[in-house]
């Protein structure tokens, strides 16, 4: 494998930006955001430079590595802090730095009224650095460092406005639920080291052949747990909705385009493990399918625009996980959907931020309406993202999502049919709730309050939205034209035999479009023909109520995990008081009691002490007498 000396700059630039901004403090308030944006952009250009180098090499020589330093050296256990850039990493590098830079630009304007804008940019740069480390690490341990780093950055950014207790709680919730997943990753690393003796990607890949299926399955399941935590997949999905407490650029960058897709990256990166562990792979598919429907159903009921988009994100990542779980045929499509989703979802989030910017930070869609006239650019970019997520040809989602649906159908057997139907149904529901968002926000009558004065955002904000909208339109075609991405990534995955096609691509596209049309039609009838109440109606069906409460995910977590934990804590506190403290105080009491009891012996008469010594001597001699008998 070739070595490179410039990989480190990808990470070092944003990391340096973060350090400078945090250490310089208020002194850098004036220029901090510009520095951060500049460093993020330079990191993007380093990425482009690496891509150009990579394109110039033959297929097998494309991956490059760079050893930074010897990190851990304990006996035979040696891990270097090394970076590795291959065809998969470069996709992520460009997505992270590209979208990241656009969102930096957007944030300059969006956060301009915030006194702590410099700190925000410091955290954004920290996130970029950590996320790059995550995708560039050449071993699971290096990945883990980045994995924790993005968790930290996510925590800091969700709770950026931590003066509001609800937001601080949301950041804590995200952090704690992520810890559950992180534990899975650490377990996976430990099992890998215990069974294979190595944790580097190349080492594990080489060791897979002579490792038991049981070990591989457990590693795979633990990796899946890690992925569910970071990517907000069932059953660790509950934090994503609350994570919308963070500033909208954060939601766009971290909780839509990049960090939440780390789970997909992890599973795709570990393809050699999942290919050898069918049980774990099946679980991946199941998790993806459940989350796909879960997020879609939540999305239908949310009135908060950001939470509706978050539910959509959850659902779309469900598609990616499902795709990644389909094995060698699905990895490339999962990554493709990840990339296109990065464009259109980030664009829509930025659009939502633009709407909020014009509406005094109002997030309730029922208080929007008829914004098309006031925010034409936002409407246009959001609309392009909307068409992309629906999968209308020739927008991006059409290529990536249909590929996953088609692959699901072609898995074969009952599994294929079930998965295909789930993905199709998900597409229909997606069409419904996204149409709902469009109608409630941009069309119909205005329902906003009197003090709202909707206006178009400044150019610093709409320019990134426009660029992302272009990406939403073209990325699908560019990536799938001549199977570009599939061929690009193919050296990383095992070649697979072509399945007998159950349904031809044309039929799948037709079915998907039909489902989308039905979804759009229902939403149109329900929200465009009928009047929309400015206050959410309460006399709704039980299903709506449940969906509004995120399908009871919080209640479930509270009942199953929190309540027993609280009971356990209460029991432990009582035990601590009764047993531990009791023992400690008991020792004191015993000493005190025996002391006051023995005080009577202290007569002050030397002779009585002598008598006691004599009695002691008698006891000693008697003991010797007994022992030597």
């Amino acid at each position: 494998m070739m070595t490179s000396t410039t990989l480190v700059y990808l990470i070092a630039l944003p990391l340096a930006g973060s350090a400078i901004l945090l250490l310089a403090g208020r002194r850098s308030d004036k220029w901090g955001h510009l520095l951060a944006t500049g460093l993020s952009a330079s990191s993007f250009f380093v990425g482009l430079y690496q891509l150009s180098l990579m394109l110039g090499r033959s297929n097998s020589e494309r991956p490059v590595t760079q050893k930074l330093f010897e990190w851990i050296s304990v006996g035979t256990f040696k891990i270097d802090a090394s970076l590795m850039l291959d065809q998969l990493s470069i996709c992520f590098v460009l997505l992270i730095t590209g979208v990241g830079t656009l969102i930096h630009i957007y944030s300059i304007s969006y956060m301009s009224h915030d006194a702590d804008r410099r700190r925000f940019f410091a955290f954004l740069n920290l996130f970029i650095a950590a996320m790059l480390l995550l995708v560039l690490g050449d071993s699971y341990l290096n990945l883990y460092v980045g994995w924790e780093g993005v968790g930290l950055a996510s925590y800091l950014l969700i709770g950026f406005w931590n003066q509001k207790p609800a937001y601080a709680t949301a950041s804590k919730k995200a952090f704690v639920m992520n810890r559950v997943g992180d534990m899975g990753l650490s377990f996976a690393i430990m099992i890998a080291f215990a069974t294979m003796g190595t944790v580097s990607f190349s080492g594990v890949k080489a060791a897979v052949d002579h490792t038991s299926t049981a070990a591989l399955t457990s590693i795979g399941i633990m990796l899946l747990v890690a992925a569910t935590g970071k990517s907000a997949q069932f059953p660790l999905q509950a934090w994503l909705g609350d994570a919308m407490a963070g500033p909208t650029p954060v939601s766009a960058l971290i909780h839509a385009a990049t960090m939440v897709t780390a789970g997909v990256y992890l599973i795709t990166r570990s393809n050699f493990i999942f290919d050898a562990a069918p049980t774990a792979q099946l679980l991946v598919v199941i998790v993806g399918a459940i989350t796909l429907m879960f997020g879609a159903l939540i999305g239908t009921a949310k009135d908060d625009i950001k939470k509706a988009l978050a539910a959509s994100t959850m659902s779309q990542i469900g598609y990616m996980i499902l795709g990644a779980g389909l094995g060698p045929v699905g990895y490339a499509f999962a990554i493709m959907h990840l990339l296109t989703h990065g464009f259109f979802k980030a664009g829509m989030f930025l659009g939502a931020g633009s709407v909020m910017h014009g509406m005094n930070d109002e997030v309730n869609m029922r208080k929007y309406g008829a914004l098309r006239k006031f925010m034409p650019i936002t409407f246009a970019t959001f609309g392009l993202g909307y068409l992309a997520i629906l999968g209308v040809p020739p927008f991006a989602g059409f290529y990536s999502k249909d590929m996953i649906i088609e692959t699901a159908f072609n898995t074969g057997g009952a599994k294929g049919i079930i998965l295909g139907c789930v993905t199709l149904l998900g597409a229909g529901i997606t069409a419904f709730y996204m149409t709902r968002v469009m109608i409630l926000t941009f069309t119909g009558k205005s329902r906003w309050d009197d003090e709202a004065h909707p206006h178009e955002s400044p150019w610093l904000m709409w320019l990134p939205m426009a660029i992302l909208a272009i990406g939403s339109v073209t990325s699908g075609y560019l990536l799938s034209h001549g199977d570009a991405l599939v061929n690009w990534l193919s050296p990383l995955f095992v070649n697979h035999a072509e399945h007998a096609e159950l349904l031809s691509p044309l039929v799948v596209s037709g079915l998907a479009l039909a489902m989308v049309a039905i979804g759009v039609a229902i939403a149109f009838v329900k929200y465009s023909r009928n009047e929309v109440a400015a206050v959410a109606p309460t006399d709704v069906s039980i299903f709506t109520t449940i969906a509004r409460q995120d399908l009871l995910q919080d209640r479930f977590n509270e009942a199953v995990f929190m309540a027993p934990g609280q009971v356990l804590t209460a029991v432990l506190v009582k035990t601590d008081e009764a047993v531990i403290d009791g023992a400690v105080r008991g020792v004191g009491r015993i000493a005190l009691g025996s002391g006051s009891a023995l005080r009577g012996v202290q007569t002050g008469f030397v002779r009585s002490y002598a008598a006691l010594i004599l009695i002691g001597a008698v006891a000693l001699v008697a003991a010797i007498w007994v022992v030597t008998q």
């Binding site: 002779r607 008598a611 004599l614 009695i615 008698v618 001699v621 008697a622 007498w625 030597t628």
Partner: protein, 263 residues
């Protein structure tokens, strides 16, 4: 006597005789120590026990220790005891009634148990064992044998013990040293005080014992000019011991005795 004792020690029969005479006596003397009222008598009985032990040492082939026992213990230590007795307590005799409730029965029971267990243990340990005897070890003389051990194997403890001895001597001097709170009154001051005390009776100082007496002895009171016996002329310790004769026997007759007796 040493030669005799050594000879006694070397033959079984005379040693047994010696033992059976001296052992009961020493036990009786030890018991007597506990039972007599006067500390002086205890000290005498103690000295007897120590001398008896010295004889036993000599009889058992330890003439050096026997001599040391007599010289150091009976000579020095017991003299020290008697000296202190004279200093503090010779004029008092102990009451043997017990003041701490239940102490005496407890002590005696414990002691009987202790002695019984010890003797039982000793019987168990020594039954059927014959003494090797120190004749071989004493081949070059007992003093030489001990010296060679003391200055080779035990030279370090020996030095440490000498340091201990010096420390103890210094320590006891420090302890017993009496710090004067005031300056000692001079003879002139004492004389002025005597004349100013109001009474002329003791202006001339106390009479010495035996002055104008028919007996010339320390326990006979002096006769004052008026013919009465001066009780103040007798040492208080003698009085306390009861070792003083009735002073009225020595008075000259029925002459006026109104002169105050000053102590």
């Amino acid at each position: 006597m040493i030669d005799l004792a050594i000879q006694v020690g070397q033959t079984a029969k005379p040693e047994a005789t010696l033992f059976w005479i001296l052992a009961p006596l020493s036990v009786a003397a030890a018991l007597g120590m506990l039972l007599v009222k006067k500390a002086v008598h205890s000290a005498i009985l103690m000295a007897f026990v120590m001398i008896a032990l010295a004889v036993f040492y000599i009889a058992q082939g330890a003439p050096f220790l026997g001599i040391v026992q007599i010289v150091v213990y009976t000579g020095a230590v017991m003299m020290l005891f008697l000296f202190i007795l004279m200093l503090v307590g010779v004029d008092s005799s102990d009451s043997l009634t017990e003041t701490i409730k239940g102490l005496r029965p407890t002590a005696i029971t414990a002691a009987v148990g202790f002695g019984g267990l010890m003797i039982s243990l000793l019987g168990r340990a020594t039954l059927g064992r014959n003494a090797v005897g120190v004749e071989a070890a004493n081949a070059e003389g007992n003093v030489q044998g001990i010296a060679s051990l003391l200055f080779s194997t035990y030279v370090w403890p020996f030095e440490v013990v000498s340091a201990l001895l010096i420390t103890a001597a210094l320590g006891s001097m420090v302890l017993a040293h009496h710090h004067r709170i005031q300056t000692r009154p001079t003879q002139r001051e004492l004389s002025i005080q005597r004349f100013r005390s109001g009474s002329l009776a003791n202006a001339a100082g106390l009479p010495a014992p035996g002055v104008f007496a028919r007996h010339n002895a320390v326990d006979v009171p002096a006769l004052l000019p008026d013919g009465t016996a001066a009780a103040a002329s007798i040492n208080a310790s003698l009085k306390a011991r009861g070792d003083v004769l009735n002073s009225s026997v020595f008075e000259l007759g029925n002459i006026d005795t109104s002169v105050e007796e000053e102590k």
